[in-house]
Symmetry: C2
Subunit: 308 residues, 2 copies
């Protein structure tokens, strides 16, 4: 299968045609029309087999996840997705694998009206690197750096499910969160002008919130339990479920800060997507978990970091 | 070394600050200001150790080449480079390697005023995937699809040197072309409004010109010898040097079509960069090499293709 065919196949599976794509796949580069008055938001994330997904992961799910984790970065900026490029390194050209991969990639691309505009395929160990492009009105991007003491700390959805799915791949509800995460794109856009800072939870809540706090030169005190799914609680029991929620990676929920007064309005806007206030921003650095009596119960394991 | 540190180190080595970068490395995504009235040109290319560069290649050269091959795609579109993202997969965090890699990447980034705006590092087999962004005035991008019968076929520089350097790594002048290719960015911009079609020579002239011809629904007859460097001719002798020139990959020269009447003007504009007319576009499909007597002497090997 030629390089062109692989990318062409994924393109064919991706229904979303966009009129801001002047030249798509098939030339030396894509030619795109940026949106007047908006800023371009660009994120790149790589998945390596055995590092970011188990070697046994279905091709459909690999395709889905490779775009989902990038859309999650756009969500954390409050951006509206538009275009993606894909660099796919494959050990050998396997037509069935590529077809399923393309279907998974295309399914989430269609959901968010993302056009695949370029890419390349090379021979080598299974690695996927996706770059996504989105738009945000000038000056409206959500940054990590705007949190202030007194802000409330919120998270969307439930935490720890993906880590639970890695530990217990037999539990379908958890494994699905690991394999086909849902980027919170709509929620991110609702946070424009409301959140003071935002980040997506990719490496674990404590570590990602720590990054937000570092960027904002503040700290956080988490005094409320993390949101847990019924499946996670039933599979592991409350204490272990909480440990997964604080430190598990790959959830791709949004963690953000906002005035506590915004909670009611946000809850109504989010509809079925759960919103949980888990703590507050403080002026002293560091992220601490405290119990009902105010005792420090911060777990020793904070998350997953490459190369540490 | 943390992920952030690796990318941060490359960013520090890259002097080019651009005022169209609103938010660079360090948040979930970059925030960039596209240029009013211009189109965005985006290309992605991946290098895998042992496939796109020999395992013994110096880290500096890997850094240089990873950006150079992408800038070559922008050159082939006539675009002015602006921003890049880098996805770097490394088997283990080697500080000396990363520092040298960063210097090579930064050296060519500075030359073309490219800002590194994002990226990620992961653990795995050495793979580099770069996405570059550039600008071209609306409607001015050079495409593969505009060649017409009667156009002349031109190439910049000399061909076959990189393939020669792969075969004879002891010949420094050839090896340098393989390890530190020069993207023809300035030449590409001069071709706006002049070339009818363009492509960069990455997989071999015959195969890349074949792609241009396919996109334009024409063919090409190459009746003039390819431009050869003295080093290539001296190392291999004329017949083998020509074989490298027709089918060798990794030269990153531009191959383009234009009215024969443009040759004098282009030659003057290109200055020291060699320009060679190697043939002409014909209406029948396919790329043929013919000798002075008009006999078909097309070499059987046309270039390098992945996954064929």
């Amino acid at each position: 299968m030629a390089e062109f065919d692989l990318i062409e196949r994924i393109k064919r599976e991706t229904a979303a045609a966009r009129d801001d794509v002047r030249v798509g796949i098939g030339d030396d580069a894509a030619v795109l029309a940026p949106r007047a008055g908006q800023e371009l938001v660009v994120a790149t994330d790589t998945l390596v087999e055995g590092v970011h997904f188990p070697a046994a992961t279905a091709a459909y799910d690999v395709g889905w996840k490779s775009l989902a984790v990038n859309l999650s970065d756009l969500a954390a900026m409050g951006a509206e997705p538009a275009w993606a490029t894909l660099a796919l390194t494959l050990p050998h050209p396997d037509e069935a694998w590529v077809t399923q991969f393309a279907r998974g990639f295309a399914a989430i691309a269609r959901t968010h009206e993302v056009a695949l505009v370029g890419g390349d395929t090379t021979r080598g160990p299974l690695t996927l690197s996706v770059t996504v492009h989105g738009f945000v009105p000038r000056g409206d991007a959500l940054l990590r750096s705007g949190a202030r003491a007194g802000d409330a700390v919120f998270v969307t959805g439930t935490l720890g499910d993906a880590a639970g799915g890695l530990a217990r791949p037999d539990v379908a509800a958890l494994r699905e969160r690991l394999d086909r995460p849902t980027p919170r794109v709509a929620a991110g856009r609702l946070l424009r002008g409301v959140a003071t800072a935002a980040i997506d939870v990719s490496d674990g809540l404590l570590i990602d919130l720590g990054r937000l706090c570092d960027a904002s030169a503040v700290g956080a005190e988490l005094d409320a339990p993390p949101p847990l799914s019924a499946a996670l609680r039933e599979t592991f029991g409350e204490p272990e479920a909480r440990a997964h929620a604080w430190a598990g990676g790959d959830d791709y929920e949004l963690c953000f800060t906002a005035s506590p007064a915004q909670e009611t309005v946000l809850r109504a806007a989010f509809g079925r997507l759960a919103l949980t206030r888990i703590g507050r921003i403080v002026s002293s650095p560091g992220v601490r978990v405290v119990d009902a009596e105010g005792r420090d119960v911060t777990p020793p394991r904070r998350g997953y970091e490459h190369f540490r």
